[in-house]
C-alpha cells in the first residue's frame, strides 16, 4: 500500500512559471526521492534528500524536507514545456531499508 500522498494530483501552468508539488508521508524515513515519468513509462531519478537534510538543489529543481511535518516539496523554477510529466515522490522508510514506496504522483502540464 502507498505510504503517503502527493498534492496536487494535477497541475497546469504556463512556461516560465514555477511549479510546486508536495508529498506527505506517515512513517519515519531514511530518505525521500523524487522521480519523473514521461508518458507512463520508465521513471527517471531527479533528486534524493536524506532525513537529516532540509533542502537540496539540482539545476532548476529545489527540494525541501520537513521531517517534523512528514512532508516534502519539489519546486521547478522557470518551467518549460519539456517539464510536462508526472512527478513521484518515493520514500525509503526506516522499516523497509532499500525498498522505495511511491505515491500516486502529480501530473504536471506546462503549456507554451
Amino acid at each position: 500500500s502507498q505510504q503517503g500522498e502527493e498534492d496536487p494530483q494535477a497541475l497546469s501552468i504556463q512556461e516560465g512559471e514555477n511549479a510546486t508539488m508536495n508529498c506527505s508521508y506517515k512513517t519515519s524515513i531514511n530518505n525521500l526521492q523524487w522521480y519523473r515519468q514521461n508518458s507512463g513509462r520508465g521513471l527517471v531519478h531527479l533528486i534524493l534528500i536524506r532525513s537529516n537534510e532540509r533542502e537540496k538543489h539540482s539545476g532548476r529543481l529545489r527540494v525541501t524536507l520537513d521531517t517534523s511535518k512528514k512532508s516534502s516539496s519539489l519546486l521547478i523554477t522557470a518551467s518549460r514545456a519539456a517539464d510536462t510529466a508526472s512527478y513521484f515522490c518515493a520514500r525509503e522508510t526506516t522499516d523497509s531499508w532499500g525498498k522505495l514506496q511511491f505515491g500516486a504522483g502529480t501530473q504536471v502540464v506546462v503549456t507554451p
Partner: protein, 115 residues
C-alpha cells in the same frame, strides 16, 4: 548494458493465460526490483532481489505472481492464470548495491493488457 532493458514492451494476452516478463538489469547491479503501475496510479512494490539473499516477496499480490533471478543478471516475472486486473505496466529497476539512499534505475516497462 547501458540501461535496464525489459521485454516485451507490450503484451496482450487472454484471460487465464500465463505470461512471462523479462528484465535485464544494468551490468554489475546487484539489486533488482519489480514494481507494478496501474493506469494513472503510483508504483506498487512487488519484489526485490539482492545478491544471493532471499528475495523480498512481500509485495506480490497473490500466489499467481512469482519471480526468479539468475545470479545477478536476468530476472523473469511470471503471472499465471492472468486476470483483467493484472493489466498494468510492470516496471523493473536495478541499483548498484542495495543500501540506504541508493539511486535505482528503471526500465521502460512492460505494458500488459489482459483481455
Amino acid at each position: 548494458g547501458a540501461g535496464v532493458s525489459q521485454s516485451p514492451s507490450n503484451k496482450v494476452t487472454e484471460k487465464g493465460k500465463d505470461v512471462e516478463l523479462r528484465c535485464d538489469p544494468i551490468s554489475g547491479h546487484t539489486a533488482l526490483y519489480w514494481y507494478r503501475q496501474r493506469l494513472g496510479q503510483g508504483l506498487e512494490f512487488l519484489i526485490y532481489f539482492q545478491g544471493n539473499s532471499a528475495p523480498d516477496k512481500s509485495g506480490l499480490p497473490s500466489d499467481r505472481f512469482s519471480a526468479e533471478r539468475t545470479g545477478e543478471s536476468v530476472s523473469t516475472l511470471t503471472i499465471q492464470r492472468t486476470q483483467q486486473e493484472d493489466s498494468a505496466v510492470y516496471l523493473c529497476a536495478s541499483s548498484l548495491v542495495q543500501f540506504s539512499g541508493n539511486t535505482i534505475y528503471f526500465g521502460e516497462g512492460s505494458w500488459l493488457t489482459v483481455v
